[in-house]
Symmetry: C2
Subunit: 207 residues, 2 copies
DNA sequence: CGAGTTCTGTACTGAGTTGTCAATTACGGC
DNA sequence: GCCGTAATTGACAACTCAGTACAGAACTCG
């Protein structure tokens, strides 16, 4: 019985995320957010409680997307598990896309993981941001670990390897690729890094 | 025949680096820099050409320090090369210190590699920053590659492995540890990651 | 068609920002 | 001891920013 919202919440949060990933948190003004989302100042404050609120809700949305995508990309039959790990590693070369169907990003520094960028920029002084980023990383590691276990069941990875340790190592490599890419190293170099990482996965000793 | 500088240039750049690493580039105001360095506004502009100039020169200093430290930590006799690689990996757990004798940092997000932080925050829109960060990373990779070759000569690493590829992978892991640490993961977790990485280094197949 | 409720956009405020400038200070040579 | 040169200081003006307040628009229900 009142005027309905004229904007789509997720659409706005996507636009805000893109802005934050492009310019960073402190490099983004409320006017930038307003221009990027098409919302006026007042609406941003009423609906998201200002700049910091927009950031937190955008990160929460990012986390939710991740919690869907990572398992979707990594879960499956045991036979293909190793190859799924390889693809997941190689995906990092092109960065983290805004949405599953959207091209990853124009420039590499804006394509880095949203959670990683925010954690590095303001995580030290913003516990909520740090917590959300940690949750993102844990979610990825959990999905990767599950895939590692599948690969182990299929005899593609050394059964003595600890799946959780390996998963966190792979997560670290993926996030490291973001950083090395942000410094301007070529996609070819990043691909080489990802392939090297994949090649070093502990195979079962045959015999 | 004129008034000499009353400050030590390197000391000032160190203080500025600490400030930038703690608060980020856009999170640091010129007043913050002034307070951190003890220099007045005008002096900062006269000596370093303002905030951006301070950043570039601080990053250049960081690069120079790195160019000295990385080879120093990694070069040496072939026998100890593998262990030096391990120590270098484990060093990443505590972050990158401001100076060789200074404790790394209070909180983990401020302890991350200066070049990595700046590249992620403003590298996309600041080519000079991106270039300097890339140079830092390349310098590290070069030193690591040399150490890998030493370990190969000593029979500790598979001679078929490409030293440069392996070096870039190790660099990526080290920078990834920074990111995972900045998100609040425990030192124990980071240590585990570093040890896992070390354990996966390709050993020569003993006949 | 009207009333009530919520959304929307703009204008405003106070704080914080950058870059500059003239005045001051300190030193080294003469 | 004086003077020129350069560093230093503090203040200043123009600007941007975050957050708020208010007035108008839009929509639903009666």
């Amino acid at each position: 019985m009142a005027r309905p919202r004229s904007f789509d919440r997720d659409h706005v949060l996507h636009a805000a995320e893109r802005q934050f990933r492009t310019s960073g948190y402190n490099g983004t003004s409320v006017d930038d957010l307003s221009a990027a989302t098409g919302l006026g100042r007042g609406s941003l404050y009423a609906a998201f409680d200002g700049k910091h609120g927009v950031l937190l809700q955008a990160m929460t949305g990012y986390f939710a997307r991740l919690g869907q995508f990572a398992p979707k990309a990594l879960a499956g039959p045991d036979e293909g598990a190793l190859e799924r790990l390889r693809r997941y590693l190689l995906r990092a070369v092109h960065g983290v896309p805004l949405a599953d169907d959207v091209p990853p990003a124009p420039d590499r520094a804006a394509a880095a993981c949203f959670a990683a960028k925010m954690a590095l920029e303001i995580g030290a002084s913003d516990p909520e941001v740090e917590r959300t980023a940690k949750a993102c990383f844990s979610a990825i590691a959990t999905a990767v670990a599950e895939c590692v276990r599948a690969a182990q069941r299929n005899g593609d990875i050394d059964p003595d390897a600890d799946p959780d340790d390996l998963a966190y190592l792979l997560l670290t490599i993926i996030r490291g690729i973001d950083v090395v890419g942000a410094a301007g190293h070529s996609p070819a170099r990043l691909t080489s890094i990802a392939e090297s990482a994949f090649a070093l996965l502990p195979r079962p000793r045959h015999r």
